[in-house]
């Protein structure tokens, strides 16, 4: 019983939503689901946020390694919660927009979030460099093709590409690096993208059916029924 009902719920909800596409009176049920999901996600956050608090306070109380940072984490969490839930320094009071300019919540967003997030994102530039140094090696045919394709595109995006092959006559312009780069983007790249996208669609269909039919139910922990 405890395990059959969830499988039944998955089956009914999944098949109804697949069919809803074809029946105008219920065609918006898929959108309704996203609202349900959003509401469920808030409740789930009680578990997630609770977990965050529990782990870090435990660490701080037991004076485990790096316990000081745990205190910082908990403080950050609580200050943000207070700022946002009670709308501290918000001109509109409790009825105001939570992200109103000048509110503590918005200030923390601008001062803390934006620089931290943007910098973390910017680290990518460094990792792109290190990946190209160590990972782009012509180990086999596939790796060589990947390497050559990316090298041509990179070359096409510097003035060097034009300087190196600019002399090529117009009739053979496909061998002009910038044109070659464009051609790679539009022809072989497109073919590869299409194959990947069609493959993903079929993979999702098959996976969804396994879930809906209850063939795949490991997420419910029913492996050893």
């Amino acid at each position: 019983m405890k395990r059959k009902i969830p499988v039944l719920i998955t089956f009914v909800v999944g098949s109804v939503l697949i069919l809803s596409v074809f029946f105008p009176p219920i065609e918006t049920w898929g959108e309704d689901f996203s609202i349900f999901f959003d509401i469920i996600a808030v409740f789930a956050f009680f578990l997630g946020g609770g977990n965050l608090l529990r782990i870090h306070t435990k660490k701080a109380i037991k004076r485990q390694k790096d316990w000081g940072f745990s205190i910082v984490t908990v403080l950050g969490f609580i200050i943000m919660l207070i700022a946002g839930l009670f709308k501290v320094w918000n001109d509109g009071g409790i009825a105001g927009d939570v992200a109103a300019p000048g509110s503590l919540f918005q200030m923390m967003y601008n001062w803390i979030f934006t620089p931290l997030g943007a910098t973390m994102y910017a680290l990518l530039a460094f990792f792109v460099a290190s990946a190209s140094y160590r990972a782009f090696r012509a180990k086999n045919v596939g790796a060589t093709i990947l390497l050559v394709a990316s090298f041509i595109i990179l070359l096409g995006r510097t003035p060097l590409g034009t300087y190196v092959t600019g002399w090529i006559p117009k009739s053979l312009s496909i061998f002009n690096i910038p044109d070659l780069a464009i051609w790679i983007m539009t022809a072989p790249n497109l073919a590869g993208q299409r194959a990947i996208m069609i493959g993903i669609a079929l993979g999702v269909v098959s996976m969804s059916l396994r879930l809906i039919l209850g063939v795949e139910r490991t997420y419910l922990g029913v492996d050893n029924e």
């Binding site: 803390i112 394709a149 072989p188």
Partner: protein, 211 residues
């Protein structure tokens, strides 16, 4: 410049340097930044969920004085069931119901979504005459059609990649590799722009070395 702005810029600069210092190695500045980031962002998201989802999507709808909606209650009840795991093993199994609901709905919605946007449209886009235009166009068209075909051969699971079939699969993976290489090369510029943005902030807004 007001003291708030100055303070904000110095704070932002400190955070920027703290994160970047991770590239050298893990250190106390990075750990502080990480702790602040994790704690405050978790709080930020809870606040956002609270006002957007619980207040606006549930409370305002369910307790609308004119025409209260019933639908949000479904989400609410499933959400409450989610919390049963806090109250011991006796009723914790109820928390699987919302999970089953979410998985079923995701499977159903995504199946049709991916099928339409990825499969149908891409197959439809592939169906077009190849022998049109200049010689170069014809070569490209044939290559696109053949590449898509071979790429799909690569993804076959129930047939061993041997003989002609294996050859097609190999060609398929080559096409995938061109795709990966091209996307990588093409993205480098936008990644560099991100770093440029941060350096611009450090050298310009903070240190005022450049205008």
């Amino acid at each position: 410049m007001s003291w708030e702005q100055t303070f904000g810029i110095w704070l932002a600069a400190a955070f920027t340097l703290g994160i970047v210092s991770f590239l050298y190695r893990d250190n106390i500045f990075y750990k502080v930044c990480e702790a602040i980031f994790v704690g405050s962002s978790a709080g930020y998201w809870f606040v956002t969920y609270f006002w957007d989802n619980l207040y606006r999507k549930f409370y305002l709808q369910a307790f609308d004085p004119v025409s209260p909606h019933i639908a949000p209650w479904v989400g609410f009840i499933l959400g409450v069931l989610m919390l049963t795991r806090l109250f011991g093993a006796k009723i914790a199994w109820l928390s699987r119901w919302p999970l089953a609901f979410i998985i079923g709905a995701t499977a159903g919605v995504y199946m049709m979504f991916y099928f339409v946007s990825n499969a149908m449209l891409q197959i439809g886009a592939s169906i077009k005459p190849v022998f049109v235009g200049s010689f170069g166009d014809i070569v490209s068209n044939v290559l696109i059609a053949a590449g898509t075909f071979c790429g799909l051969v690569y993804f076959f699971f129930s047939k061993e990649h041997k003989g002609v079939f294996g050859g097609a699969a190999r060609v398929g993976i080559w096409f995938l590799m061109v795709t990966f290489g091209a996307s990588f090369g093409y993205t480098v510029m936008s990644r560099m722009s991100l770093m440029l943005g941060r350096l611009d902030f450090l050298f310009g807004d903070w240190l005022r070395l450049i205008s």
